[in-house]
Symmetry: C2
Subunit: 162 residues, 2 copies
DNA sequence: GTCTATACACCGATAGAC
DNA sequence: GTCTATCGGTGTATAGAC
């Protein structure tokens, strides 16, 4: 709290005029992050059919997570420092995001453009794979962000396409 | 340290007869974990050709990470609490493990059984995807461990096969 | 609204008795 | 080798002056 106060330019005690305690501050941060992620995806333009929508999701997820790398990392690392009730709220929001991807995969199966052994596992596998980019991607590295998106989309497409 | 001492059945001070400080304890734990992972993979029986070896790797990684879920989680969460020198040692061991997978992928490309846009990215993508299983897998859940292995292997194979 | 001062708990690590 | 006692530091949160 002293570090946060210093960054804002006040003393630690003054923070308690705006938040009841440290956990509320963390919870608001994580909740806002997840809600903004859901809004951003809702507003994201998407391609045609399940395959086009899936490509949009893959590119969106990589781009958004790289853009907000600090928040993504913090959300993961600090999640277990929330109490049970707050933890459940964040997990529910995460579940809603995962459901967005699973809906795409199910639609693809229904229209026959995708073939999957298990939509739930494919959902978790794809999200883990895409989120992993944040652990190694560096600005100015060997590959640019758009190239990385394209390469990952290629692997995802092959993994799930009919 | 007081909790560790209590778990072992001594007082906190007594721990310092066996370790110079807390960081050395953490470093040894993480280093041992990574070395045991490398040894276990070296001793793992593997299938024929690049595809067979890759299947062995996929199944091994899921199985080993689920078996040692606590150590895997701790290795990830506590990695940033090491000083720079110790951090570098653990990262080097992690790099050796990743190189094991990348070697398989390169061999597969050379023999023509695998087609990849980029071996380095495929390496990171596959490891992230497989490690992700530990975040949602629960003993006694909908799918058993071997079924999960098979489903993930199916997705990996499709993603990288020629 | 913000400051200074401080209460209170906990942490890693050490000193010294046994 | 293990204990008890304790040091110095840090953390969240609160009290009261301004």
């Amino acid at each position: 709290m002293r570090q946060i106060a210093a960054a804002v330019g006040v003393q630690a005690g003054a923070l308690y005029l705006y938040t009841p305690d440290k956990e509320a501050l963390l919870f608001d941060l994580l909740k806002t992050h997840m809600e903004e992620l859901l809004v951003a995806w809702a507003e994201e333009p998407r391609g045609d059919g399940a395959l086009g929508t899936l490509e949009s999701f893959v590119r969106f997820h990589i781009r958004y997570n790289l853009m907000r790398a600090e928040a993504v990392f913090l959300s993961y690392m600090e999640l277990r420092n929330l109490n049970a009730a707050n933890f459940a709220v964040i997990e529910a929001l995460r579940g809603r995001y995962e459901a967005e991807l699973e809906t795409i995969l199910k639609a693809g199966q229904a229209e026959g453009s995708l073939v999957l052994p298990d939509t739930k596992l494919a959902t978790m596998a794809i999200i883990a794979m895409l989120t992993g980019v944040t652990t190694w991607y560096r600005e100015g590295g060997r590959l640019g962000r758009e190239t990385v998106e394209t390469i990952y989309w290629d692997m995802v497409r092959k993994a799930v396409a009919a």
